[in-house]
């Protein structure tokens, strides 16, 4: 991430504008290439030396924020380690003890101390002198650098810039259009992972509005959850169409500011996207259900179900043609008995409409799952049977 003084923003009234860079700009590509080369060739240098090289290359004045930010992102990909012919703490141990003894009798002689310790350890006095603080941060050496491409660096910069602003945010409102349940499940997982709380509103169709913050936000606006909100951003960036509005406390005065970000800004997530992927088994089940269900319409559920305790993103919606009854169906992947029971208990208290949870015996990670008399839990052997799903749906709505 960028350090706070590297975040390049413009203010207009009470709004913050991130000054993104154009990733195709030959100037920035050139700068990125040069910086990458500098890091690639700096293996073996001390951190202090690299800092000096970087001070030359990107300076430290505020007109050079982009190169400084790029350098910071590269520095985050470096691994440093102590390199010394003798453990520095042992050198200090011997040198300081001897020096103190000399001092006590009023006969401190720096060169003599270094020479004596050098003689004892079979080193030169210079090696002792130089090795004395080789474990200080500035004296550690670069041992490896996780390389990546110019484009990746420039994309990462723009995302880091937005994250640098979100770090100071007290909460954000995200509007998401037309995403799949798989995507929403991924977003919900990410929210949980980053320990965020969410209030949700929907138009009942394809647009959902999420208000994200944390438990203490109810009482006073706090930036305690800024790190979590910033870390959530890369997952959000995988949505095709969204807008984000963040409530930011900016500068030393923590002035309230607004920050807007939308899919049109073109930020690219560095995460590998698995979220939107619909497993083949689910697609097949969907096709089979459509064929099988004569009196039911089957929809891959684009509709999310808002619950008191969060969002639920089932896989299918079965709608009975005549009565209009609806049954929500989710097929769980790897599951544990307790998790499945918890989900069912939650849905039972918070949802009015009937639902069916299908789980595979083979995917159970518990030793014994027992069998279930619960009409909302369908434990199948290898693949879920469409006929059984329909039968259960019919009994759930008492047809």
């Amino acid at each position: 991430m960028l350090s706070s003084n590297q975040v390049r923003v413009r203010r207009s009234k009470n709004r913050l504008h991130a000054q993104y860079i154009r990733e195709s700009d030959p100037e920035w590509q050139d700068v990125a290439e040069r910086l990458l080369d500098l890091f690639r060739t700096s293996i073996g240098c001390t951190r202090g030396e690299i800092d000096e090289i970087m001070a030359e290359a990107v300076g430290d004045n505020p007109q050079q924020l982009v190169p400084q930010g790029l350098a910071k992102l590269l520095e985050d990909r470096c691994e440093f380690d102590v390199e010394s012919s003798h453990a520095p703490d042992e050198l200090r141990d011997k040198v300081f003890l001897l020096a103190a003894r000399q001092r006590l009798v009023g006969a401190f002689d720096r060169d003599a101390v270094l020479a004596a310790v050098a003689g004892e350890l079979g080193l030169t006095a210079e090696a002792v002198d130089q090795g004395l603080f080789a474990d200080l941060k500035a004296e550690q050496r670069l041992i490896s650098f996780r390389d990546f491409a110019v484009d990746q660096l420039l994309q990462r910069y723009n995302v880091a810039l937005a994250q640098g602003i979100l770090l100071r945010s007290a909460g954000m409102t995200v509007r998401i259009n037309g995403e799949t349940p798989a995507r929403f499940r991924q977003l919900i997982r990410a929210m949980k992972f980053h320990r965020l709380m969410c209030r949700i509103e929907g138009d009942g169709k394809s647009t959902w509005v999420l208000h994200l913050d944390g438990p203490l936000s109810l009482f006073s606006s706090t930036t305690k959850y800024g790190v979590q909100l910033a870390n959530f951003l890369p997952t959000l960036l995988q949505c095709k169409s969204f807008t984000l509005q963040a409530d930011v406390r900016w500068g030393p005065q923590r002035a309230p500011m607004e920050f807007l970000l939308e899919s049109g800004d073109g930020l690219k997530s560095h995460l590998t996207d698995y979220g939107d992927y619909i497993p083949l088994e689910l697609q097949m089940l969907y096709e089979q259900l459509r064929k099988h269900a004569k009196t039911w319409a089957v929809e891959p559920e684009a509709t999310l179900v808002p619950l008191k305790s969060g969002l639920w993103a089932p896989d299918f919606l079965l709608r009975h043609n005549k009565s209009g009854w609806q049954v929500h169906v989710e097929v769980l992947g790897f599951w544990r008995r307790t998790d499945a029971d918890k989900l069912i208990a939650r849905l039972r208290t918070e949802m009015k409409e009937p639902f069916l949870i299908a789980v595979s015996e083979a995917m159970n990670t518990d030793e014994n799952s027992g069998d279930s008399a619960d009409p909302s839990l369908y434990i199948f052997k290898r693949t879920p049977l469409p006929a059984e799903i329909i039968r259960r749906a019919e009994s759930l709505v008492k047809l």
């Binding site: 004045n61 505020p62 007109q63 703490d89 200090r92 040198v95 300081f96 003890l97 020096a99 103190a100 001092r103 006590l104 009023g106 401190f108 720096r110 101390v113 270094l114 002198d129 004395l132 603080f133 200080l136 941060k137 320990r195 709380m197 969410c198 209030r199 208000h211 944390g214 438990p215 203490l216 109810l218 009482f219 706090t222 930036t223 305690k224 030393p252 923590r254 008191k308 305790s309």
Partner: protein, 458 residues
């Protein structure tokens, strides 16, 4: 009846109230309805007020929130408390176990905390500013109570009924410890007020809280937040009241040195460049936001940036003037039989001195194990000099030290009082000296004036 009971639970720094009747929930103090979860919620710190309200009104409740039980602690130490220590704890307890105790450095704040832990008989968390203090508290509590002490911070994560942590870790891990302790001790509690660290006090359920400091006042005036975060100041003794009886006697002495001709001309050129920029851009440096305005203006132009660099250059010259190091050499020789702490404003100078005089250094980069060893050897006399920047300003015990040499520092009174405090821990008939080495003809003369505006230096 059981169905009407209110259920209390802890959720990441907040207290969640569920079940019960709507009226009963609404009447609870400090409680808001949370649309996100459909439940009622309050900040963790109001736990005590809410439980007291429920009990007073005989409203049934199930407490799933607090994860501690009354736990008796026995101090194994046979130490007899000083009168001011007994008095401090008694007064604090009378104020329902909430409040700030102000005692000069070196008058046994740690022991006051231990007495408070024993009195309260609850699992307790001690929050402290630095890794050094973390280690020190860990050691003292282990000895004092003869039980394993937990530690969060400095690379450890181990929760025990008695645990020490740092302000940073307390803030970061609040969700995980907020419901586990009945008593919080905020060491050097002037660090607590503020939007970040303050959250640790806001989100904890602990009904009992004690703040400890020698210097409760803050430059930003946020000390007014003590009552809501900890409790009011309940007990206060000043350095002069306890000096001699409980603290070592001391003298302070300012030593002036001159810059070399070359340093002087570089210094003046740098100051001129800085001052001209300040004057030409019309910034008033005396106001509370002077420095901030300067940085802001400086970042907008080449001249401004050059002026900022010139300012830092002048600071470097003040701090590490060649003649200061010569004077230091002299003082080290004069006091070759004493135990000396050398204080500087920055780490670069610390290491410059450590290399030149071959004396151990303690900075934030020094690992816990090595710090401990250095302090032990300083105590035993194997080392007679330690050089440090701001790390030893606060709290860390160095009872052996009797000479302090301030080579450079900020102009804050607090830093100076704290540094003096390092030297004043009572040991036999110790007489302490604090030297302050100041470069003549530099801005340091003013900083020196300012930091001695405290009755301890008059």
């Amino acid at each position: 009846m059981a169905e009407e009971s209110i259920t209390l639970s802890f959720d990441a720094g907040t207290l969640v109230l569920e079940d019960g009747t709507l009226d009963a929930l609404r009447e609870c103090p400090h409680v808001l309805h949370d649309k996100r979860t459909g439940s009622f919620r309050a900040e963790g710190r109001h736990y005590r007020a809410i439980v007291e309200h429920l009990r007073a009104n005989k409203i049934a409740y199930v407490d799933n929130a607090r994860a501690w039980q009354e736990t008796p602690w026995t101090l194994t130490s046979t130490r007899t408390p000083y009168p001011h220590q007994t008095e401090a704890v008694a007064t604090w307890w009378k104020q329902r176990g909430r409040g700030v105790v102000v005692l000069p450095t070196g008058t046994g704040k740690t022991f006051v905390a231990m007495l408070a832990i024993q009195k309260t008989a609850r699992p307790s968390l001690v929050v402290t500013p630095t890794i050094d203090l973390l280690n020190q508290w860990h050691g003292e509590l282990s000895q004092g109570f003869g039980t394993p002490i937990g530690m969060i911070g400095g690379g450890s994560y181990d929760l025990q009924p008695l645990t020490v942590t740092t302000y940073d870790s307390a803030y970061i891990h609040l969700d995980r410890w907020g419901h586990r302790y009945g008593l919080l001790i905020f060491d050097e509690c002037h660090h607590l007020p503020g939007p970040t660290y303050g959250m640790a006090a806001v989100g904890s359920l602990a009904p009992f809280r004690m703040g400890l400091t020698a210097t409760p006042e803050r430059a930003d005036g946020l000390e007014h937040m003590y009552p809501e975060l900890i409790g009011p100041i309940v007990y206060r003794r000043e350095i002069k009241e306890l000096s001699g009886d409980f603290l070592a006697g001391y003298t302070t002495q300012t030593v002036f040195v001159h810059l070399t001709e070359d340093e002087q001309s570089r210094y003046e050129a740098a100051r001129r460049q800085y001052k001209e920029f300040v004057a030409s851009s019309g910034i008033s440096m005396s106001g509370p936001k002077g420095w901030q305005n300067f940085i802001f203006q400086a970042s907008r132009s080449k001249e401004g940036w050059a002026a900022l660099k010139a300012f830092y250059e002048s600071k470097r010259l003040e701090r590490a003037a060649g003649s200061k190091l010569v004077k230091l050499d002299e003082l080290l020789t004069t006091h070759s039989r004493d135990r000396i702490i050398v204080f500087t404003a920055d780490n670069a100078t610390v290491y410059q001195i450590a290399r030149r005089f071959l004396v151990p250094a303690i900075t934030h980069q020094t690992k816990a194990k090595e710090r401990k060893q250095i302090l032990e050897r300083f105590h035993s006399g194997e080392y007679t000099v330690v050089v440090t920047s701001q790390v030893l300003n606060e709290g860390v015990d160095v009872p052996a030290a009797n000479v302090g040499i301030v080579l450079s520092g900020t102009s804050t009174i607090r830093e100076n009082v704290q540094r003096l405090g390092r030297l004043l821990r009572k040991k036999a008939d110790k007489q302490a000296i604090l030297y302050e080495v100041v470069a003549r003809g530099t801005a340091e003369e003013f900083s020196s004036e300012r930091r001695r505006q405290h009755h301890a230096f008059q």
